[in-house]
Amino acid sequence: MGSEEESAVKEPLDLIRLSLDERIYVKLRHDRELRGKLHAYDQHLNMILGDVEETVTTVEIDDETYEEIVRNTKRIVPFLFVRGDGVILVAPPLRTS
């Protein structure tokens, strides 16, 4: 077979590069999510995001009814550095609420 080099094989990090200056969705450890504009990242997935909304999801269990109460706590931060060791996944924004 020919030894044609396929330089089109993209690393996952190259796919993230496509999202620079675009809004992205980031899933973090401990039930946290971020939605913001990607300004910078590195190979550790350290990132700088702009106009970020953080969502923290907690589940409380009622003592009597044992029902699960899901709470979403949101806050907005204009400019945020995120340490990469907390990142689970990076994606284009989901088209849900």
Binding site: E11, L13, D14, I16, R17, L20, D21, H39, A40, Y41, D42, Q43, N46, I48, G50, V77, P78, F79, L80, F81, V82, R83, D85, G86
Partner: protein, 93 residues
């Protein structure tokens, strides 16, 4: 080295460091190193009632690995510069 350079340029600015244990510390960025360890000056804890044990601390060293977020000043960056630096840096290992 991208973020190391970025934080070096931010020395002297006010930032809020949020740790993995949910403690948030606001202070002036004094220095940073390659591990993104951070030294803050003139620190005060956010929500001091909840975390009284650092009331008298004014300067601190924070190990980089315990940081979850650093809240940055909105005018603390040139986004174009960041985009260019990222494109150059993230060429894979």
């Amino acid at each position: 080295m991208l973020f190391f350079s970025y934080f070096k340029d931010l020395v002297g600015r006010e930032v809020t460091v949020e740790l993995k244990n949910d403690l948030a510390i606001r202070g002036t960025l004094h220095s940073v190193d390659q591990y993104l360890n951070i030294k803050l000056e003139n620190t005060r804890v956010i929500d001091q009632e909840k975390y009284p044990h650092m009331l008298s601390v004014r300067n601190c060293f924070i190990r980089g690995s315990v940081v979850r977020y650093v809240q940055l000043p909105p005018d603390g960056v040139d986004v174009e510069l960041l985009h260019d630096a990222t494109r150059r840096e993230a060429r894979g290992g």
